[in-house]
């Protein structure tokens, strides 16, 4: 394992740390496209009378704040698409997809599950994936337990309790659940009474990981980043015993029929955002604090599509296993 300054960390240091390392946002996965950012597309004159491009932003807690941020993003995008850009805020992915279905939305910020369903139902296209502070356009889920619980591996959870975040949540349910299915510990079609003594849906990542720290459940199946929701002094109390496959990051998707030319320009405009440039950094701060964007491909979603298909969220997961042109 190489470090930023090329120093090797000896095994004795790593040994007791593997669990957290496995869950740390700074590990795992490969970067795409190296460090070379594409150039921003040439600017166009904005035609104020043209039909606006509409973007659905998502807010989890503070829609007013997101609305304010979205205005800056819309303004940034306008000269690259040559038409006015209007953003609006929704509080759930379902609404974003429904507005796209009804033709009111051209672009939407969504999670992989919402995209998979939107693609299957209304032909939405993936444009760009978010890049996190890990430097990667991916994330994964973990099985978290109390560090001193004695639970070392998923099989140790037989007859014990687990909390997931929400039933319809890729990182907070389907991906971590799939860890047990892949290990043959849990049938794909049955969650309750099959392997675990008790399964809860806690209502969110924080509630789930706090259910672990409070000793209400033996494990939580949630995002790799969940421990950041704990206060610093609480984080040492939890550890990871397993992690899921990588999922592509949250993304911006476009409605079916949006012109290829516009899609290309939008991709370029987002992918060219440079975190080392102060202005771009400010914009990225308004874009949910991501580090940048990379191009999204359908094949990125092939593996998570299988998971979504396994639990009935999409009918044809094989549709995502396409070979794209380089």
């Amino acid at each position: 394992m190489s470090t930023r300054r090329g120093m090797n960390v000896p095994f004795w240091l790593i040994a007791g740390w593997l669990a957290i390392v496995g869950s740390s946002p700074v590990f795992g996965g490969g970067e795409r496209g190296g460090n070379q950012l594409p150039k921003k597309p040439p600017k166009l004159t904005v035609d104020p009378k043209a039909k606006p491009l509409t973007i659905a932003f998502i807010s989890y807690a503070n829609p007013q704040h997101v609305a304010k941020d979205s205005a800056a993003i819309s303004k940034y995008l306008e000269p690259y698409v040559g038409v006015p850009v209007k953003g609006f805020v929704t509080t759930d992915y379902g609404s974003s997809v429904e507005t796209m279905r009804s033709g009111q939305t051209d672009l939407a910020f969504v999670d992989p599950l919402a995209f998979l369903m939107a693609h299957e139902q209304i032909g939405a296209k993936p444009l760009v994936l978010e890049v996190y502070s890990t430097g990667k356009p991916t994330y994964y889920s973990c099985i978290w337990v109390q560090k001193d619980s004695g639970i070392k591996k998923p099989a140790d959870l037989k007859g014990k309790s687990i909390a997931f975040a929400d039933q319809v949540d890729m990182s907070g349910h389907l991906m971590p659940r799939d860890i047990f299915v892949r290990l043959g510990l849990l049938p794909a079609d049955k969650l309750e009474g099959a392997f675990f003594k008790q399964v809860y849906f806690a209502g969110g990542d924080e509630q789930a990981i706090r259910a672990v720290t409070n000793g209400f459940v033996d494990a939580a199946g949630i995002s790799q980043f969940a421990y950041l929701l704990l206060r610093p002094q609480e984080r040492d109390g939890v550890t990871v015993i397993a992690k899921s496959i990588d999922s592509p990051a949250h993304l911006i998707m476009a409605r079916k029929g949006l012109s290829e030319k516009i899609c290309k320009r939008i991709q370029q405009a987002f992918m060219a955002l440079d975190p080392s440039n102060p202005h771009d950094q400010e914009l990225l701060g308004k874009l949910y604090g991501v580090q940048g964007y990379v191009e999204a491909k359908m094949s990125d979603f092939a593996e998570v599509a299988k998971i979504a298909g396994r639990y009935g969220f999409i009918r044809k997961p094989e549709a995502f296993a396409v070979k794209e042109k380089p």
Binding site: M1, T3, R4, R5, M7, V9, W12, L13, I14, G16, W17, I20, S24, P25, V26, I58, Y60, G94, V97, L113, M117, Y139, A163, A165, D166, Q167, V168, D169, S171, V199, Y200, F201, A202, G203, A211, N214, G215, F216, V217, I222, S223, F225, L228, L229, R231, P232, Q233, R235, S276, P278, Q281, E282, G285, Y288, G289, V290, Q291, Y311, G312, F313
Partner: protein, 653 residues
């Protein structure tokens, strides 16, 4: 579900830096650009997330246990709980407010000798208010649970109401977790049952799970029953113990258990960022820090909560908490003990009940720069000796054990190194030089001008420019309210003006927010009849005298400097071995382990986290070994710690 922590992690890890360094002072340059949001550095502990009702209840509970009770701080929390309740049950909320206000009025009225009416005793009033609030919170929580039950047909409404109820129940969490673990776990399951029973609205028609009414109601009723039984109408505090929501009627209540020591919501003991620039005289002179053993020991003690007793120790409070790198920490505030940020009543009933003076006299935290020149010590100059002052802080203000003489010597040696900031506008004699702003130069004339209204004295009579702007005397300017009419209890030590630009607010109690307010206070109280221009000039003078070169470090990244400082702490180890001071060795190891853990999340590249973990672990082991009397093992562990630090110090930043 991912967004909420992305911003945090980006700020915690996504910033690069380069550096130029000299001893003791790190000059950092942020190569990456910060967003407009202040970075959430991990040693800055965020406030606990609490529902407003739980927050008010917990804070009020803390305040009501103090002596004296600051009723003016209790009243807003009573109002906050009543206001929340008002929307649900206006009559009950109105009764709460009326009853609480009546009790507060009875507790705060002066004795009426003619009517032979005494104020309600503090403890009685505090208990009665606490009972009212506990019953109210319990009823509010139960009401929201019932509302959730009634709204199960509208899942989203029921979910919101359940979350409200859970947040309100948070008022009791800490005490339940400690004193009724069975119930805490059982009720924890109930909350999870309710959340799970609400099913899912699905996404685009998939994954819909219906609400399980019976499951939800059964769990909600269990919680409501517990709340009613233990905290509902008729709640009684446990006699002889502090006011807290003891679930004394629960069969599984463990009366011997103690809840964790916590500060009330609204407190802030985080140090300021950027850090003040600390100037240690010996370091500026280029002295090898490894040879200043006593200073190293003092530096460790200054940063260590282990020199104090409980509760300061459990709360991680050290000298450095209030005097961050020797400079006033303007963030420090504890409701009930502080009147404003940057100060505290140090003779209080919370930190050292034995030394409580029984009245609220919060002080503004003084800047310790140049402290070897500023005797006497204490705002009222009650200690001629810094050693006596520091001992009193440890033993009587923070309930610590009698300090080892070597430790005390170390603290004094360290504090005597604190230098004033250099000031490019001052000559050695304290006069402004020609580089000073014109307004300040005009203000200097006013500062030196004798005023009849001040008995022929000038500002400079007390703030003597050639003597670091102080006269080592105590004067009564009338800023301290007397205990009675014509009391002679208001004399205060003359403070230096050096560095004060960076340590607002002003006066012993922090009652003046700005230097301009200070000059206006003197103008008004001594009827100096200064013009607007003169006031501005005088303020400019004080501002210039009170300034200094590079008052703050120009980085927000502090881990590398902290790690270097811990290495400095460790340089006292051989001296402690030689003097046979196992207690001080143990304290050093404990302090380093604690500090590494407090700062480790600041690490910019978390791949090196195992190194920090290992170093903290080595200190834990060294602590264990010294306690076991295994000196050989202690030496090995110290050696390994030092080697590890030397090997990895370039990446621990």
């Amino acid at each position: 579900m991912m967004r909420s922590y992305l911003v945090f992690h980006r700020l915690a890890t996504g910033l690069a830096k380069c550096r130029a360094s000299s001893f003791g002072v790190r000059t950092w340059v942020l190569a990456a650009v910060l967003t407009s949001t202040a970075p959430a550095f991990a040693h800055i502990i965020p406030p606990e997330k609490l529902h407003p009702v739980a927050e008010s209840y917990r804070r009020a509970g803390f305040l009501l246990n103090l002596n004296p009770v600051l009723w003016e701080q209790v009243a807003p929390d009573v109002s906050a709980i009543a206001n929340y309740w008002m929307a649900l049950d206006s009559k009950a909320a109105g009764d709460l407010l009326a009853n609480a206000n009546r009790i507060i009025a009875e507790a705060t009225r002066g004795p009426d000798q003619q009517a032979a009416v005494e104020p309600m005793p503090r403890a009685e009033a505090a208990e009665r208010i606490f009972v009212l609030l506990t019953e109210a919170v319990s009823q509010i929580g139960q009401r929201q649970l019932r509302a959730a039950e009634r709204n199960l047909e509208q899942r989203e409404d029921a979910l919101a109401l359940m979350r409200e109820a859970r947040g309100i129940f948070g008022a009791f969490d800490d005490v339940l977790r400690a004193t009724d673990r069975d119930a805490f776990r059982r009720l924890g399951w109930s909350w999870l049952e309710m959340s799970s029973a609400l099913g899912s609205r699905g996404l685009l028609g998939k994954g819909v799970a219906p609400v399980e009414h019976e499951r939800f109601v059964a769990a909600a009723r269990e919680i409501a029953t517990y709340m009613q039984a233990n905290f509902g109408v008729g709640f009684l505090p446990v006699k002889g113990r502090k006011l807290a929501p003891w679930p004394a009627r629960s069969k599984t209540f463990d009366a011997s258990a103690r809840p964790p020591i916590k500060l009330p919501p609204g407190h802030n003991i985080n140090k300021q960022l950027p850090r003040p620039r600390q100037i240690l005289n010996m370091a500026t002179r280029g002295v090898d820090e490894g040879e200043t053993t006593l200073i190293a020991l003092g530096d460790m003690a200054f940063d260590s909560s282990f020199i104090f007793g409980e509760p300061a120790q459990s709360l991680g409070i050290s000298c450095n908490s209030c005097h961050n790198k020797s400079i006033t920490n303007p963030n420090f505030i504890i409701p009930g003990l502080s009147s404003r940020p940057g100060g505290m009543d140090v003779s209080n009933s919370f930190f050292a009940p034995h030394a409580n003076n029984g009245h609220f006299d919060a002080l503004d935290t003084p800047d310790l720069r140049g402290i070897r020149f500023t005797a006497p010590y204490g705002r009222n100059g009650r200690f001629e000796s810094l050693t006596e002052f520091v001992r009193n802080v440890i033993v009587n203000e923070f309930n610590g054990p009698e300090p080892d003489p070597v430790l005390l010597d170390g603290l004094i040696a360290y504090m005597f190194e604190f230098d004033f900031l250099p000031n490019q506008h001052l000559n050695r004699d304290g006069a402004l030089n020609g580089q000073a702003p014109q307004a300040a130069l005009r203000g200097e004339e006013i500062f030196l001008r004798p005023f009849e209204q001040m008995g022929g004295m000038s500002c400079a009579t007390c703030h003597v420019p050639s003597a670091n702007f102080l006269d080592h005397k105590r004067h009564d300017l009338g800023t301290v309210p007397g205990a009675e009419d014509r009391s002679r209890d208001g004399a205060l030590d003359t403070p230096t003006l050096l560095g004060i630009k960076h340590t607002p607010p002003y006066f012993h109690d922090g009652s003046q927010p700005t230097l301009r307010a200070v000059t206006e206070w003197f103008n008004d109280n001594y009827k100096l009849r200064l013009s607007e221009q003169e006031l501005s000039d005088l303020t400019a003078y004080v501002d210039t005298v009170g300034d200094g070169v590079d008052a703050f470090e120009d980085t927000q990244f502090t881990l590398e400097a902290e790690m270097e400082e811990f290495s400095f702490f460790m340089s006292a180890y051989e001296f402690l071995v030689e003097r046979n001071k196992p207690e001080l060795m143990a304290m050093t190891f404990q302090t380093i382990a604690f500090e590494i853990r407090a700062h480790k999340w600041d690490l910019q590249d978390w791949t090196h986290m195992p190194v920090l973990e290992r170093m903290a672990e080595l200190m834990d082991q060294a602590y264990g070994a010294v306690r076991a009397g295994d000196r050989g093992r202690v030496g090995e562990l110290v050696s390994e710690y030092r080697q590890t630090y030397e090997k990895y110090k370039d990446v621990l930043n």
